[in-house]
């Protein structure tokens, strides 16, 4: 098993004919992802790595049965793209695009909830379940099939951690990049609940960072509802208040969102914390 995605995901890529679209359709196909369609308005009829391109998502859904969308369009067009996918009946939307206005994200995240759809991102690397599928831009080479679930607010930091896990022989059930923006569709809590239900997942790794209270909320949730062992790493322990540390969501504002508060909350919930991102793998071996 896996969470949120499996072999039944038939993927349409929105923004298929751009540089990113072409490259990542190739990478996903190589990973084994069922990429069935691309959408770029005005480019209908073209093909990318043999995948047919349509002008609109509803056409792609009708012709190919696509049920999942990967959004790679530029930020000013992202809201339109997500609304289009949801209206076409898509039930899993992964939004990679960064720098999307927060108010746009608030609208499409809520619209996804209305449609009972899973929305991952925005500003995330996507989701991968080794041996099954990869929907996003995560590097395929770092993964290994296994039993550790990973949920993260970061990109490369996740690759680093996943790579370290794989090198130590601990494969992953699913790795989900939640996104570095303040408003995201899928949270640590959603991922934790899904991993708790997933028979294949034996331990969960959370990669958090400064800003907001997602880690504190997750810690409360773990105490009440999660029985599997949880490990965590928090980035930004030395970040000064008021500076946005690269991610739009990574900011200590009005005294809220400090690493200290997150670490404290996780300790209370008996979550084991790593000092360095590469330490996580050792922790997981010791405790699971």
């Amino acid at each position: 098993m896996s969470i949120f995605v499996d072999t039944k995901n038939l993927v349409v890529v929105q923004g298929a004919t751009g540089h990113q679209g072409v490259f990542h359709i190739g990478e996903m196909l190589q990973f084994g992802t069922k990429v069935v369609a691309g959408v770029t308005p005005g480019k209908g009829g073209e093909k990318v790595h043999g995948v047919p391109v349509f002008n609109a998502v509803n056409q792609a859904v009708e012709e190919t049965g696509a049920n999942t969308s990967l959004v790679l369009v530029p930020a000013p067009f992202a809201k339109d793209a997500v609304f289009e996918a949801l209206d076409a009946g898509i039930k899993t939307v992964v939004v990679i695009t960064e720098n999307i206005p927060f108010h746009d994200a608030m609208e499409f995240v809520n619209y996804a909830h209305f449609h009972d759809a899973v929305l991952i991102g925005p500003n995330c690397p996507g989701i991968a379940s080794p041996g099954k599928t990869k929907i996003g831009i995560l590097p395929g080479s770092i993964f290994k099939t296994g039993k550790v679930g990973v949920a993260s607010r970061s990109g490369t930091l996740t690759y680093e951690i996943v790579n370290a896990l794989s090198e130590k022989g601990m494969g992953q059930s699913t790795c989900v990049g939640l996104g570095g923006d303040p408003i995201i569709g899928t949270t640590f809590i959603d991922a934790l609940d899904a991993f708790e239900q997933d028979k294949e997942t034996k331990a969960v790794v959370l990669v958090g960072e400064i800003g907001g209270t997602a880690e504190e909320d997750a810690a409360d949730h773990i105490m009440e509802h999660i029985s599997k062992p949880v490990f965590a790493f928090i980035a930004g322990r030395t970040a000064p208040p008021g500076k946005r540390m690269g991610h739009a969501g990574a900011i200590i504002a009005r005294g809220k969102g400090t690493a200290a508060s997150k670490i404290e909350a996780f300790k209370k919930a008996d979550v084991k914390l790593a000092k360095f991102p590469t330490d996580i793998a050792d922790l997981v071996t010791t405790y699971s």
Partner: protein, 368 residues
């Protein structure tokens, strides 16, 4: 982007939210349209200006000129005052608080109202703040506020005036892509007008492209941060002396943390993002050199980005232009062996693990 008080109030006026009669005072010191007494207020993007002496009342022209001369050019917590707003005095009957922000957890807009205006909202007890979450698809509706208005014990007309101000505030919050609209204090005048005495407005930077009428003025960026922005490189200046180049925001933050662990101090935070474009790598290194760090720590994880491509870019800059500080590199991921060879060849120090590299960098920069 934080707007200065006067710019926020211009937006309020545009939305029909009453503000005191005022004008921006320049070097000509033209106070002609204003009635005494009035208040001179330093325009800086930071709180605490009253305590710093940046707000003064003038009862006559001489006082006005003197106060203007004192406030203009004053340093308030690192910001030089370049603009002064003069506003006519208003009679305050009651001070309220109102704000709208994005709630990250609820993923809705959060309206906060309180009868305790004029003080830092962080110091107002929770049971005296009325909070209501507004879904983006309903927008603000009368039911959202019935309870709050009742609790504030206002006259009927005052309640209506307050409702109108909050509706307009919400409209502005959504239309201008605000992260925050805060009015503190929001006052009731003896004439029954609800008026914004101050403004705190933050507009989401990612939405600036659709608000061309909002022009940034007092930048909170350093010169190098500005140059980086023009070149679309994520670059943040901090206090320390170690320059960190990494790819991805999370990894960069984790690298700074590792340095601190070994008593090192990150001074510059440069995020290469997902690029291995040699031209971008070159620009990044040039920027880093200008920041004059004592040590440069390059920490790279190659996933989609190929390590050897980045290494080639680094080698090209160093062989061509030289570098006058030690560069410690730690490379992991796609094509790491080839990358290590290239960097060694360029005379750089390669470290095995993140810990090892962080320890070496900190030691060389004068830490432990």
């Amino acid at each position: 982007m934080k707007l200065l008080e006067y710019r926020g109030k211009e937006l309020f006026s545009q939305y029909g939210i009453p503000v005191p009669k005022g004008r921006l005072i320049t070097a000509e010191r033209d106070f002609s349209e204003l009635q005494f007494p009035f208040v001179l207020k330093a325009q800086v993007p930071i709180g605490g200006r009253g305590k710093a002496g940046g707000i003064k009342t003038a009862n006559n022209l001489q006082e006005a000129k003197n106060h203007f001369n004192t406030i203009m050019g004053m340093d308030i917590r690192g910001f030089t005052v370049k603009k002064v707003l003069a506003e006519e005095h208003v009679d305050v009957k009651k001070e309220l608080y109102a704000s709208l922000m994005l709630d990250r957890t609820q993923r809705q807009s959060l309206l906060m109202l309180s009868g305790k205006g004029g003080m830092d909202i962080e110091s107002v007890p929770d049971n005296e703040i009325y909070k209501v979450w507004i879904h983006p698809f309903t927008g603000i509706q009368p039911f959202h506020l019935r309870d709050a208005i009742a609790q504030l014990q206002l006259e009927k007309e005052e309640g209506k005036a307050l409702l109108n101000v909050i509706y307009q505030m919400y409209k502005m919050f959504r239309e201008y892509d605000c992260e925050l609209v805060e009015i503190n204090p929001l006052i009731l005048t003896s004439a029954g007008v609800v008026m914004a005495l101050d403004s705190k407005v933050i507009i989401n930077d990612d939405a600036r492209y659709r608000h061309k009428d909002i022009v940034p003025e007092q930048e909170e960026l350093t010169t190098l941060e500005k140059e980086a922005r023009e070149k679309s490189i994520a670059f943040i200046q901090l206090e320390g002396n170690i320059g960190v180049i990494a790819n991805g925001a999370g990894l960069t933050m984790a690298t700074l943390d590792a340095l601190t662990h070994f008593k090192g101090n990150g001074g510059v935070f440069l995020d290469l993002g997902g690029t291995d474009d040699p031209e971008k790598v070159k620009q990044a290194f040039e920027l880093m050199k200008k920041a004059k760090p004592k040590v440069i720590f390059l920490n790279l994880f190659g996933g989609i980005t190929k390590c050897d491509t980045v290494a080639k870019g680094v080698k090209a800059v160093i062989t061509k232009e030289g570098i006058d500080c030690p560069v410690i590199t730690r490379i992991k991921g796609m094509n790491e062996d080839a990358a290590k060879e290239i960097l060694k060849d360029a005379g750089l120090i390669t470290a095995g693990t993140l810990e090892d590299a962080a320890k070496k960098s900190s030691a060389m920069a004068g830490g432990v």
